[in-house]
């Protein structure tokens, strides 16, 4: 089973409802765009960063969230300095950082299973327009099961194609991978139908 990005803890954010955290994230994401005022956004960012130690995360985890987008932030800062002024540059960079840091915090403090449960509840009102939550749940659990299976089939095919000297051709890898897994998918579908899922 694939491990989620959740890190266990007992803080207030860990205990808050998944749906509430998602709504807060949407509110924050919208808010920092509605108020294009750098001191306000910088304050929001500072508050978000402060929530990390409050939720029991140290500087290493904070750094891990910001590191992947750091180069983009540097580029955007430079572009804004060049086109506009430093206030605009600070606004753009702090805004992105605030959104990303808060969204990451939601991911770190919410179990994947809780988010999936919130998703299922959110889908219930969509039933009249043809969304079937049971089928979505089935699809989700199948993806999680298929990932290791596909990875195994892929490594088998790579070995087979290496023996033929084709291991550098991506097409010679992907075509058999797709056809083999499509055949498997048909068997899986028959097995589900045989158990009268529908």
């Amino acid at each position: 089973m694939i491990a989620g990005l959740y890190i266990d803890g007992t803080s207030a954010l860990h205990r808050a409802a998944a749906g509430a955290k998602i709504l807060a994230m949407i509110a924050l994401g919208t808010g920092v765009f509605l108020i294009p005022d750098w001191p306000v956004v910088a304050f929001v960012l500072a508050t978000v960063v402060l929530l990390y130690p409050v939720s029991g995360f140290g500087p290493r985890i904070i750094w891990a969230q910001i590191k992947p987008i750091l180069w983009l932030l540097v580029i955007f800062f430079a572009v804004q300095m060049w086109l506009n002024d430093w206030q605009a540059a600070v606004l753009v960079v702090t805004r992105i950082a605030a959104i990303v840091m808060f969204a990451s915090l939601v991911t770190l403090t919410t179990k994947t299973s809780d988010l999936l449960a919130a998703l299922e509840r959110a889908m219930l009102p969509l039933r009249p327009i043809g969304v079937n939550p049971e089928k979505v749940s089935l699809a989700i659990s199948m993806v999680l099961r298929f990932i290791p299976v596909i990875a195994t089939v892929a490594s088998e095919i790579r070995d087979a194609q290496r023996a033929r000297g084709l291991d550098r051709s991506i097409v010679a890898m992907v075509v058999p991978l797709i056809i083999r897994t499509l055949k498997m998918a048909d068997d899986v579908a028959d097995a589900i139908d045989a158990r009268s899922f529908d």
Binding site: L115, I147, A185
Partner: protein, 182 residues
């Protein structure tokens, strides 16, 4: 929607996740990283068609959003999705849908040229239109500047269009799924 369709949707969501496991190749000279993952939406659309292809990418994105590290480089969670490059990630679902729509339209007379054009339109034109617009809003730069910034990635995407075209035509001969959906 039949059980088979649900299984296909799950399969291509999983395939997109597995494509993210391959380490990115760094292009010579420009140093731009190219990941295999964006082949996923192209293949999903070109092999499953608009509806199933688009839904399989939506499903993949749902799993990323709930915190599974399925994006290339083991990334995941809301942070990546609503961050700077979020438009390119959400754009995948629309990209897969558009590719599927075009491939379905050309299905009975599909050849290298119209398949490649369909995949390039959905996978490059549509995807970059969404992705660049997102970057332009987030970074407060003009649409044109965002387009220039994204240009180095086109080389990798052109390669992926070629691969997806070859794969789509081969799978169409061996295991056609779109006409079956009929």
């Amino acid at each position: 929607m039949k059980t088979k369709d649900i299984v296909y949707i799950a399969l291509f969501a999983a395939l997109t996740a597995v494509l993210g496991l391959f380490p990115p190749i760094t292009l010579p000279v420009t140093g731009v990283p190219v990941t295999a993952q964006s082949l996923g939406p192209m293949l999903a659309g070109a092999i499953l068609g608009a509806r199933r292809g688009g839904l399989s990418i939506v499903l993949f994105l749902v799993l990323v959003a709930v915190g599974l590290p399925l994006l290339s480089g083991g990334r995941g969670g809301f942070g990546v999705m609503i961050g700077v490059t979020g438009g390119f990630i959400f754009g995948w679902a629309i990209s897969a849908f558009v590719i599927g729509l075009l491939i379905e339209k050309f299905w009975n007379r599909l050849n290298v040229i119209n398949a490649a054009l369909s995949i390039a339109f959905g996978g490059i034109v549509v995807l970059y239109a969404i992705g660049n617009a997102w970057v332009a809003v987030v970074a407060e730069i003009s649409y044109w500047q965002a387009t220039v910034g994204a240009a180095p990635f086109l080389i990798g995407d052109a390669i992926k269009v070629a691969i997806a075209t070859a794969v789509c035509l081969a799978v169409r001969r061996a295991y056609p799924l779109i006409s079956k959906a009929g």
